[in-house]
Symmetry: C2
Subunit: 245 residues, 2 copies
Amino acid sequence: MKTINTRRTIRKYSDKEVSDELLDRLLTEAARTQTMGNLQLYSVVVTRSMEGKERLAPAHFNQPMVTGAPVVLTICADYNRTSTWCRNRKAEPGYDNFLSFVNAATDALLYTQTFCNLAEEEGLGLCYLGTTVYMPQMIIDALNLPKLVMPVATITLGWPDEQPVLTDRLPTASFVHYETYHDYTPEDINLHYAAKEALEENRRFCEINNKETLAQIFTDIRYTKKDNEAMSEGMMEALKKQGFL
Amino acid sequence: MKTINTRRTIRKYSDKEVSDELLDRLLTEAARTQTMGNLQLYSVVVTRSMEGKERLAPAHFNQPMVTGAPVVLTICADYNRTSTWCRNRKAEPGYDNFLSFVNAATDALLYTQTFCNLAEEEGLGLCYLGTTVYMPQMIIDALNLPKLVMPVATITLGWPDEQPVLTDRLPTASFVHYETYHDYTPEDINLHYAAKEALEENRRFCEINNKETLAQIFTDIRYTKKDNEAMSEGMMEALKKQGFL
């Protein structure tokens, strides 16, 4: 995993195909990731057809990676397969509840990240679409997901056709605590965010958007309270409809 | 990541120390993992003291790995640091809602899995404790977690002092779907679970527990409806108390 220190999110892909063999190997190897009771509470929907990508695109705000990537993977928290297994084996499943969603989502996300690590080590480029949990019902409909299956992650995948600059990270001391959590003083915040705020691109970003601080870009434009509250409701409704609440 | 195909969960650790330098490097490298808006919505609490481990142990059903490991990491979904940054920068954060918990938990879990992959590649052994979401309030209290911080994963970490057998996995075809989700027929279930059910250790497991099927071990003993429902409530209460609901 020497690739970890130079990894970038890749949004533009070359025409080179991602072979079925390679994809299958990566999907298989990623499954070595630990899961709850070794139940593997996830499933992956592979979308290669343009028709399928076009059905998914609106749920991801029509970001061009969705139709532009040779492969789109939608990773789902899945208690349907396990529950079906139980019912077929004289066992009564009790997984239609919130904790079971959390358990299955955890399995699905850990699986997803091992897949990402493996794919990037192979030289593939990918973009993780956080939009998956914004309007999950659209994805549920597009992929025909039954009860107890919830989409939690989407990966667009292909061979890189760009090499963006390496993005910044907060200093490790900003997110690591020893023994107990030590809450942040204004001085801590200044220290931890100084480098990020000083970045030329972030200063330009503030200028273009007419904002005094970088933080305002997040609170006023990118991730607003209003949007978050509306999408929280949509997520809750989808969880209910899928039988997890 | 050649280690992926031979990885095992490690619950017994040698006396060899995990150095601060190595731990810090792994915690830093794992942070190359993509996060929402590059906000890194997570934090890690490192527990090395016996006192700290003993405070955490009950939340993990006193499994011996917690006090037996040289290092315990509790990884948290964290919107506190980002919200504090916002408030200190004339920006009004709107992250006290369910979607924001999902976003931060996602960041935290992806970070966790890259950490696991890096640590295992280094030769370290680890055990992922799913118990973290069972009684989160106990962990919140033990680690003094403020509002908008929720524990989502725990890793016990050390140099391996055992080499357990490789555990089984379901066939890849059981969890990969093409274009849309194809629900499982009884024949599919038989096909996908045949190898798991035929394993000598699983047959013995049924015998010891006086169960007719392996699935009943899960529904009747390991992950019961009653426990799941009680823990769903505890999780919801903790989310409310931490300000995410």
